[in-house]
């Protein structure tokens, strides 16, 4: 609920009160978020009250139900025209319910659902003392390698808290792209970041790396959010308000009544520019754009792979959603200032990600760098500043998130004694051992590389087309070159899997339960469908391509 709303609550306190009119909350339009947050709280209660044995099942059940319900709500809203004709501002200006937010919320929820599946997977790790275990620490608090840990494992503990945490994160992500004032933006940022910090820390294997990842992510994340907040402060100082609409008006100079103070600060563009830059920087950190990307490889590598998959997919979606809204709703008047800068960022991101990825030896780090390169491609669509740009970015995000989750899900399957075998050398000859898994992974890699007939190509074409139409030919050329570079290391993995002899001590491919299978299957299906017949989804993204302000 927005600050101005609260303010109006208080400022009436002077006179004698006849009645307190409550803030107007459109529960229906906020239902997706509310459902997820509610379920998260329920999850916490479950942790408190449900006996340990049945927690896992209850949590999984609750999360799945919540996400499905929330997704249904999104569909309902979209069907009800809230994405297009009835798009509007809800919760007294705090939340925008419009095409982009619904589209992104839908994507996030599906990604979350698949995330839950991978979280809940219990077939991959060998059973410890007869209890099937997932990829999360038995007891995150216990020191790695300590007796307490052994005891916890023996007792068959599992960190079922991950499910409520996941739900909280999803809740935050749902708000993030639809936040319509800076405060909501900031709160949403923290709401989805903090659970992720924790999720990074609770891996079952390689716990030291996991904790290190968490520390790095946390410190850098906090650092970044501090910047964001300062930027918010400056923008507030410039416009005297945190609501997107007002700021936009002030920027355009079309604000209805101008107080002297406002007139004073309005003249000071430094506030605006610096503020905008800092807020944008915070978002670029989340999407992992160069030079704010350096957390990505370490965190992706250290975090439990299901978390990595979810994070890589959903965080990007949410953050790009927020970035789009900020740039298209708040700062369109500033286009000529931020576009060149974003050009530069996009170019260095594309090239940097692609080039550094060439020499990676760990599959998770490789995917991390590839995700950086993809952030660059998406930025190319963002700077188009045209409806086509929006819809292309939406489409790309949708396509990309499924590929990513699928890819990381496959990574969880390839294991040896020490857990997941993420070093590339171990993947040699995988195609001989289990052609199917290798083939699936190859499909994802080709999608990343943007080979035709995969969703990656359609997405890439969409964003480049938008960029080209917006006259950013240079971006397209750079993008093409960096995709060529990127192709090199995707191909390297394929060569490794299919053309090099299997190692005798090579990893085994665990046969997953239905959960992970679903995640991977959906990933492949979406990848191919969006590759061969993208029209329907392009239409969807096209209709969803309009922001409300």
């Amino acid at each position: 609920m927005s600050a101005s709303a609260v303010h109006s609550l208080w400022t009436t306190a002077a006179e004698p009160i006849s009645k307190i009119d409550p803030p107007k909350i459109e529960y229906g339009q906020l239902s997706p978020t509310l459902i997820v947050i509610g379920a998260a709280i329920v999850g916490v209660l479950i942790e408190a009250f449900v006996p340990r044995k049945s927690r896992y099942y209850t949590q999984v059940f609750v999360s799945v139900v919540a996400l499905v319900a929330s997704f249904a709500a999104v569909i309902g809203l979209a069907a009800g025209g809230y994405g297009t004709t009835k798009a509007g501002i809800a919760a007294m200006g705090a939340i925008a319910v419009d095409g982009p937010s619904l589209f992104l919320q839908g994507t996030i929820l599906l990604a979350g659902l698949l995330g839950v599946f991978t979280f809940a997977e219990r077939r991959l790790d060998p059973a410890a003392h007869g209890n099937r275990v997932d990829s999360f620490a038995a007891q995150a608090a216990s020191v790695p390698g300590s007796d307490s840990e052994k005891a916890a494992v023996k007792a068959g503990f599992t960190t079922t808290e991950v499910f409520p945490l996941l739900l909280f994160a999803i809740g935050g992500m749902l708000i993030f792209p639809s936040a319509n004032d800076l405060l909501t933006l900031f709160i949403a940022l923290e709401v989805f970041s903090l659970p992720l910090y924790l999720l990074c820390a609770v891996a079952r294997r390689k716990r030291l790396m996991s904790q290190e990842a968490a520390v790095k992510y946390f410190l850098l994340g906090a650092f970044a959010s501090a910047f964001t907040l300062f930027g918010i402060a400056l923008l507030y100082g410039y416009a005297g308000s945190v609501s997107y609409a007002t700021i936009a008006q002030v920027v355009d100079g079309t604000v209805p009544q101008i107080t002297p103070a406002l007139a004073d600060t309005m003249g000071n563009d430094a506030l605006l520019l610096v503020g905008a830059a800092m807020v944008v920087m915070g978002l670029l950190f989340k999407v992992g754009a160069v030079p704010f990307h350096m957390w990505t490889p370490d965190v992706y590598q250290g975090a439990p792979t299901p978390v990595t998959g979810f994070m890589a997919a959903a965080t990007k979606v949410a953050a790009f959603g927020a970035l789009l809204r900020l740039l298209y709703v708040v700062l369109p008047g500033l286009r000529w200032d931020w576009r060149p800068v974003m050009w530069a960022v996009a170019i260095v991101t594309m090239l940097g990600g692609a080039i550094v990825a060439i020499t990676q030896t760990d599959i998770k780090r490789l995917l991390a760098y590839s995700s950086i390169a993809h952030a660059g491609f998406i930025l190319a669509g963002v700077i188009a500043t045209s409806p086509d740009g929006v819809s292309s970015v939406l489409f790309y995000l949708g396509a990309y998130s499924f590929v990513t989750i699928g890819a990381f899900a496959v990574v969880t399957l390839v294991r040896d004694a020490g857990g997941e075998a993420t070093h590339l050398s171990k993947w040699a000859g995988l195609g001989r051992r289990s052609p199917l898994v290798a083939a699936v992974f190859a499909v994802f890699l080709l999608a990343f590389a943007g080979i035709p007939l995969t969703s990656g190509f359609a997405g890439k074409f969409a964003v480049f087309k938008a960029a080209a139409e917006a006259g950013a030919g240079a971006i397209v050329v750079v993008g093409v070159i960096s995709s060529a570079i990127a192709a090199f290391f995707y191909i390297r993995v394929i060569v490794l899997m299919f053309f090099s002899e299997p190692r005798p001590e090579g990893p085994t491919v665990a046969v997953p339960s239905l959960l992970t299978m679903t995640a991977i299957g959906v990933g492949v299906a979406v990848t191919l469908v969006l590759g061969v017949a993208p029209q329907y989804f392009l239409d969807l993204a096209g209709q969803a391509g309009v922001f409300v302000r």
């Binding site: 819809s391 001989r432 051992r433 289990s434 052609p435 199917l436 080709l446 080979i451 035709p452 007939l453 190509f457 359609a458 074409f461 969409a462 480049f464 087309k465 080209a468 139409e469 030919g473 397209v476 050329v477 093409v480 070159i481 995709s483 060529a484 192709a487 090199f488 191909i491 390297r492 060569v495 299919f498 053309f499 090099s500 002899e501 017949a533 993208p534 029209q535 392009l538 239409d539 096209g542």
Partner: protein
């Protein structure tokens, strides 16, 4: 709405590929037969296309058009002109021979692993390539073409990298590394080309707003769509680069010798006789139709590059010690001729180039497949390891010689017709280039005859003394090709009748007239 013949022609091998891949590991032979039957059925369809095609009729026939990705202005548009028909027929014709020739190339060494089914994969991939090649010949929508132009790299890549010659002179380990190097090289070269083309494709969309070849060409013709000269040239370069890599044109050729050297002979044939043709075909169809001015603008440079390819490829072929690489460089030289014919901008040149694509396909298939049989017998690709084969395996040697004579375009065999047309066509407009190119025929004789002399004649080497002559299966592969070479060499009329109208169309696209004979010009 009539029966979608073109779609069927492309879809059949695609479905066949899936079916073949699905055959269980134990049923290896079944997979082979399935693939063979599918390819033959495809050939039947292609022949139907050939018959249904009316040379006198519209430019594009048997057209199909359905909306596909409206947002990108992409339609599923198929249609064939004479050139496409000829090349589809060639593709459909060669695939059965390729399958038959590669009958045992993919038999797994260890049959224990139930999951690993290389044989099924091999034949499925071949069919997949066929499907993609055919549809890229049929596509009249630039985007549709581009998609399959790119996508066909993937199965090719697995064919090159996954399957090599049995008994490699350096042992399996190095063979594997060399193979994957060749495969990666192939893929990266073509991918880079394709991505640069992607930029141009996007540019084309920005300029034209849709991808329909016919519509754009139409609009270009009636002036409703005018590109800035510079734009057109950039777009042309983007397209041409990709096609030049695929063709391949000097200096973008170095992937071909590696690929053809490491791949098994049938796959090598698939590369040079089928897949690369898409490149030259696309130059003729897309570069010239979409960017006529730019094409004429680029002609001098392209011709010089083609000339370099001809001489350079031939000289390197002379210098090779490896049979397959030799054929590869010979192909580079031949592709030089094709491209020269295309850009000579004369009817003779372009008809010649089109015939050349077909004839080169057949002749290289003949030569390369026989070479493959030879190599499979001795387990070495080095010319030096052979000698006197003619004494122990006369039929093999004879067929090899005929293939070679076709390669050096001996009159009476098919390639002569096309090569002479290309030369005449080029000479008519660019005498000097034509004359220099003619030197290529001497070099061709040199590398072919040296190859034949070193491998087939002279005293019989101990290693080849026990070499069996061609088996029935192998004879079935080679004989029809040779018959075809002779027939098309003596009576190419059926082919030219189909091709000529299309060439006239292209000539009118680029607004070029054949130069008049001196005597008439004087009058």
């Amino acid at each position: 709405m009539s029966f979608p013949l073109l779609t069927a022609t492309a879809a059949l091998p695609a479905l066949g590929a899936i079916a073949t891949a699905a055959v269980p590991a134990a049923k290896r032979t079944a997979a082979k037969w399935l693939a063979l039957i599918v390819s033959l059925a495809t050939l039947a369809l292609a022949v139907t296309v050939l018959v249904r095609f009316d040379p006198g009729g519209d430019r594009y026939q048997l057209t199909e058009s359905h909306s596909w990705i409206a947002d990108f202005g992409v339609r599923y548009e198929l249609g064939v002109d004479g050139i496409a028909v000829a090349l589809i027929a060639l593709t459909a014709l060669l695939i059965p021979f390729i399958i038959l020739a590669g009958w045992h190339d993919a038999d797994p060494l260890e049959t224990g692993n139930k999951r690993w089914r290389p044989t099924q994969g091999f034949f499925a991939l071949i069919l997949a390539v066929e499907a993609m090649v055919i549809i890229s010949f049929e596509a009249t929508d630039v985007f549709l073409f581009y998609i399959f132009f790119e996508a066909m790299l993937i199965p090719m890549y697995f064919l090159i990298g996954g399957f090599g010659d049995r008994a490699h002179e350096h042992g399996e380990e190095t063979a594997a590394t060399q193979r994957s190097y060749a495969a990666v090289k192939f893929l990266l070269y073509n991918l880079v080309g394709g991505l640069i083309m992607l930029a141009a494709v996007i540019g084309l969309y920005v300029v034209a707003g849709n991808f329909s070849l016919t519509e754009i060409a139409e609009a270009r013709a009636n002036g409703s769509l005018d590109m800035a000269t510079s734009t057109e040239r950039w777009l042309f370069l983007g397209f041409f680069f990709a096609f030049a890599v695929k063709a391949p044109l000097w200096p973008l050729h170095t992937w071909l010798p590696n690929a053809m050297g490491e791949a098994t002979a049938p796959v090598a044939v698939l590369i040079t006789a089928v897949v690369d043709k898409v490149g030259t075909f696309a130059m003729l169809r897309f570069c010239l139709q979409l960017f006529p001015e730019a094409s004429t603008w680029a002609t001098p440079v392209v011709l010089v590059l083609a000339l370099v390819s001809i001489i350079y490829g031939a000289l390197l072929a002379v210098g090779q010690r490896d049979i397959k690489r030799l054929v590869a460089y010979a192909s580079i030289s031949h592709f030089g001729f094709i491209i020269m014919g295309i850009f000579a901008m004369t009817s003779q040149g372009q008809s010649g180039a089109t015939l050349y694509m077909v004839n080169h396909g057949i002749s290289t298939a003949a030569l390369m497949l026989v070479a493959g049989f030879l190599i499979s017998r001795r387990g070495s690709r080095l010319i030096a390891d052979y000698g006197g084969v003619q004494k122990v395996a006369p039929v093999l040697a004879g067929t090899f010689l005929i293939g070679g004579l076709a390669t050096l375009s001996l009159p009476g065999l098919a390639p002569f017709v096309s090569e002479f047309l290309v030369l005449v066509g080029t000479f008519a407009r660019y005498p000097v280039i034509g004359i220099i190119a003619t030197v290529g025929i001497v070099l061709a004789a040199l590398y072919v005859l040296v190859l034949y002399q070193r491998t087939m004649t002279g005293p019989v080497k101990a290693e080849v003394a026990k070499m069996p002559d061609l088996r029935v299966r192998e004879l079935v592969v080679v004989a029809p090709l040779i018959v075809l070479l002779v027939f098309l060499g003596v009576y190419p009329k059926p082919l030219t009748d189909i091709v000529n109208p299309a060439v006239e169309q292209t000539m009118s696209d680029v607004q070029k007239k054949d130069p008049q004979p001196e005597v008439e010009a004087a009058k």
